[in-house]
């Protein structure tokens, strides 16, 4: 068909590759097609099941009764409201913790930036459960160390109680925020890492001081990341069970998730539980809509294709208060809880605190040489978490790219599907996953694959959200330049988008990896004899009251994850935006 043109075309011209009559020959189309199918399988399947369940009565008929009985009672509604308040409070706190630190590390000349960075990630590595326990020890109203310290220093005011009470709404919000703010931090920081300083220079030369530059230019530019992370945190804290159960119940706060769990007590009311989670799902849609409104037509392209470099901002004496804040956050999130943890792991009896004769290495010995399940579980955990993180990064990038560049039809729906799993309480999701994959045709019962599939479903939203924000920051012309030179979408992804977003992707990898090591609600449902993971063992140990071993395991986990994190940051390699001095 090209004979005519080839006859006249001189040999020197490049071979023509126009012989593409069918769009189906585009491998990218297949890739994105498969991804969307995978997404539907992964997410739509359990979610649709959930929706279906919420409308079916126990004997299989269609009914609205689940809604009336699930949501009809004022106590249940109150629980839902409380959860929303909690989500809001956690989000606000996490923003207040994460954003300043991200700014400080990515854009200022504050000292100890690397240390701060490691500190935030270390905070994240700490299993939530342990963090909560550590905080009960620290800020329990009667015996919390902080309270005791306060009383030592300032004396008691009438009663014997210090000012901190972890068993309160704000205590709960605070503890959750402490362990979720790294999400905001990582999202924001990786977005900031892509912003060319020139955009900020433009603000300062037009008279804006450092603070105004940050608030008027820098932060708005990373809005997609911040909003994305905030939505994730909001939904996540609405759907969280572990920490709330430890603190909310003693604090006397009813939450949606604690409510849902009670639907699982005998007599089982799965359908009501499903109905009860519908509002959270609807909320997800609302959130997505809000996000769209917030970001609307605005552009967020920070990687323009015209060089672009990044310099740390000299913030003068401001760096000291900032450093103090970073140190305070690290102290709160890592140093103090970790100290408690290490102490407990080295104790014979954690209840005795620091005392002579209470110190031992036996707990570590126990883990490595005595316990039958722990070593294998650690290996499994690292394996599954690593695999999940990898799959999430790749899939998240592709899905986000396809959505942002509107390659797939119905990008809005795809985006919803990619975000929905956050809104579904883990246990409910796990039931759906178990139903979908344990039996034939997949027959994944008891395999590691099932765990990876479940984790991927659950944490894909993190990857997609982060990648979507990051893709927004790329000038599409960078991609078009690839395509006009003959590279397909896959080349675009592999050679340009992937390397450009390296920091973001490494960040996502770390986030997902760490979260997987902590994931409990799905793991507890899906693990089999050969696929145990550490998080489930920690639950066991905690039920056994064996906190010393638990703490030792926490420490081991912190060490392992820190190593993975460090390796990840190594891989990220040279920052091409940083100008060599």
């Amino acid at each position: 068909m090209l004979s005519a043109s080839e006859a006249v075309a001189p040999q020197s011209a490049q071979p023509v590759r126009m012989a593409v009559p069918s769009r189906l020959a585009d491998p990218a189309l297949w890739l994105f097609g498969i991804l969307v199918v995978a997404l539907v399988l992964l997410v739509a399947n359990p979610i649709l099941r959930l929706v279906w369940d919420s409308f079916s009565s126990a004997d299989g008929g269609a009914t609205l009764r689940n809604y009336t009985s699930g949501l009809g009672r004022s106590r249940n509604l109150q629980a839902l409201l409380n959860s929303l308040y909690l989500g809001g409070a956690v989000t606000v706190l996490a923003l207040a913790l994460g954003v300043p630190l991200a700014l400080a590390v990515s854009r200022t000349n504050m000292p100890c930036r690397n240390l701060t960075h490691m500190g935030v990630l270390a905070a994240f590595v700490m299993p939530n459960f342990l963090g909560a326990i550590a905080w009960i020890l620290l800020a329990g109203p009667n015996a919390g160390w902080l309270n005791r310290l306060w009383l030592e220093v300032f004396g008691g005011a009438g009663d014997d109680r210090g000012p901190f009470n972890i068993y309160s709404f704000w205590g709960l919000a605070f503890v959750i925020a402490l362990y979720t703010f790294p999400l905001i931090y990582v999202f924001t920081k990786s977005a900031l890492d892509l912003i060319s300083t020139e955009l900020e220079d433009a603000a300062s030369i037009h008279g804006a001081g450092k603070f105004r530059t940050l608030t008027r230019v820098t932060l708005p530019l990373v809005m997609p990341s911040i909003v994305g992370a905030a939505i994730l945190i909001f939904l996540e804290s609405v759907a969280l069970y572990g920490t709330p159960a430890l603190i909310a119940i003693p604090a006397g706060i009813n939450l949606a998730t604690t409510q849902i769990v009670s639907f699982f007590e005998y007599p089982l009311r799965v359908e009501q539980a499903a109905a009860f989670s519908m509002p959270i799902l609807v909320l997800t849609v609302v959130m997505l809509w809000v996000q769209r409104r917030l970001l609307s037509r605005k552009g967020f392209v920070s990687v323009s294709g015209k060089g672009g470099e990044r310099r740390p901002f000299d913030i003068g004496w401001w760096k000291w208060p900032l450093l103090a804040y970073a140190a305070l956050v690290s102290l709160l999130t890592v140093v103090m809880p970790l100290a408690i943890l290490v102490l407990a792991s080295l104790s014979k009896a954690w209840g005795r605190g620091v005392a002579k004769g209470n110190i031992t290495l036996a707990n570590y010995y126990d883990i490595f040489f005595q316990q039958l399940t722990v070593r294998e579980a650690i290996v499994n955990t690292v394996l599954y978490s690593g695999a999940t993180a990898l799959v999430c990064v790749l899939m998240g990038l592709c899905v986000a790219y396809a959505v942002q560049r509107r390659i797939t039809p119905w990008p809005g729906v795809v985006q919803f599907l990619a975000l929905a799993p956050v809104a579904v309480p883990g246990l409910i999701l796990a039931i759906g996953l178990y139903a979908a994959y344990a039996g034939p045709p997949f027959s994944l019962y008891g395999t590691g694959t099932l765990i990876v599939v479940a984790f991927t479903t659950r944490f894909l939203p993190i990857a997609v959200t982060a990648c979507a924000a990051a893709v927004r920051s790329l000038n599409p012309e960078l991609e078009e330049a690839v395509r006009v030179l003959g590279g397909g979408r896959i080349t675009v992804l592999a050679r340009v988008v992937f390397p450009l977003l390296k920091t973001t992707l490494v960040g996502v990898f770390i986030l997902v990896f760490v979260i997987c090591t902590k994931e409990l609600s799905t793991a507890v449902f899906l693990t089999g004899p050969a696929s145990r993971v550490v998080s489930v063992l920690t639950l066991d140990l905690s039920e056994q009251g064996n906190y010393e071993t638990l703490a030792a395991m926490g420490v081991v986990l912190v060490v392992i994850t820190t190593l993975v994190v460090a390796a990840g940051m190594r891989i990220a390699g040279r920052d091409f935006m940083l100008r060599r001095p």
Binding site: A4, G305, V484, M577
Partner: protein
């Protein structure tokens, strides 16, 4: 009539054919019924004011944005439009973006070598060609720098090298030289033309620089508000503009009212008659005429110039290479700009004879 340099000496086959293409954003038409036909090996420049739709047109040719209406054919086959769209990567084109779009994560050499990699050129040849091309754009010594460490003009040359090294069938250049100094710009323009000729690219070139457009192009298409005003050879466009817009846009000109009678032009306020070069003009009293400032002479001593009458100097500016005089016919009428060599000095208010080279005069409406 002088010979016309750079006349297309290419085959007559239509390589790229834009058929009545339209592009709307919302309700605003950005490209409006544009038709253009490029022969194999031709270099056509798109010229037009800022925001007239040049980039949009290039992007439609490359396949990045869909047409609202119309179609584009390449080698006789539709590549854009309703029905069949060939994705950019299969069009065998390459492009320089106005934003450069160089990849910040790759060194200069990697940026330039990318297209060859994608085309699976053997490593040794790829390396050689990248090296050669970097020498052409004078960046050989910066091969291992990252874009963030380059000056604006150097970045632009990376984009230029990247687009040309692959020897595309169709080369799309969006203001490829805007950030280069005059000497370099001239040199690069020559290189583009040389490579274009050597490898027989078909090139669509967007530039704001008219002298660049004049030297480099086979034909120039003048766009305005998304519409094609005129497409012609540089010589014709300059000397035979069809519309006031083209006359005003290509080079400086005087757009003045005149009377057409019996094949001759008489400017308002002057009595000299100038024969019409364009045969088609009919007699009328409200014609608009374009006269190039450098076809006007203060004095009557220039060979082949026709006397027009007398004028007075209104103002003048020294522009290094010439004087820019504004004169007014003593009989009233529109003021005229006249370029005079640095050696001819007339004070403001002085009177002088005015003569005109008739080849610089065109009836535009």
């Amino acid at each position: 009539m002088p010979n016309m340099p750079n006349m297309p000496n290419t085959s007559n086959m239509s390589k790229l054919h834009l058929k009545h293409i339209h592009k709307n954003y919302g309700t605003t038409a950005v490209v409006n019924d544009l038709s253009l036909e490029l022969r194999q090996g031709e270099l056509v420049t798109l010229l037009g004011p800022s925001g007239c739709g040049k980039t949009t047109t290039l992007r439609m040719i490359a396949g990045f944005i869909e047409l609202t209406a119309g179609s584009i054919e390449m080698n006789g086959q539709q590549i854009s439009g309703a029905g069949r769209t060939v994705p950019p990567e299969h069009r065998g084109m390459s492009m320089i973006f106005q934003s450069y779009a160089i990849w910040p994560n790759m060194t200069v050499a990697e940026n330039v070598g990318f297209g060859l990699d994608v085309r699976r050129t053997p490593a040794a040849e790829s390396k050689r060609r990248v090296g050669e091309m970097l020498e052409v754009v004078h960046l050989g010594h910066l091969a291992h720098r990252y874009p963030a460490e380059l000056s604006g003009g150097q970045q632009q040359r990376v984009a230029l090298a990247r687009a040309m090294v692959v020897r595309p069938e169709v080369l799309l250049l969006d203001e490829p030289l805007s950030n280069l100094d005059a000497n370099l710009r001239e040199e690069m323009a020559n290189e583009i033309r040389r490579l274009h000729d050597e490898f027989r690219f078909t090139t669509v070139y967007v530039t704001h620089d008219q002298s660049e457009a004049m030297t480099i192009s086979d034909r120039i298409a003048v766009l305005n508000l998304g519409r094609l005003e005129q497409i012609d050879t540089p010589w014709n466009l300059y000397n035979r503009p069809h519309t006031p817009f083209v006359a005003g846009f290509i080079g400086r000109t005087n757009l003045v009212s005149a009377t057409l009678r019996a094949g001759c032009i008489t400017l308002d306020g002057l009595h000299g008659e100038v024969p019409i070069q364009d045969e088609a003009a009919r007699d009328r009293a409200d014609a608009r005429v374009s006269i190039r400032p450098q076809s006007l002479y203060l004095g009557t001593d220039v060979l082949g110039a026709l006397p027009m009458g007398r004028v007075a100097v209104v103002s003048r500016t020294y522009l290094g290479e010439y004087w820019d005089y504004v004169v007014r016919p003593l009989g009233g009428g529109d003021t005229l700009k006249v370029h005079a060599p640095p050696s001819s000095v007339l004070e403001i208010g002085h009177e002088s004879a005015l003569s005109v080279d008739p080849r610089g005069v065109a009836v535009v409406s």
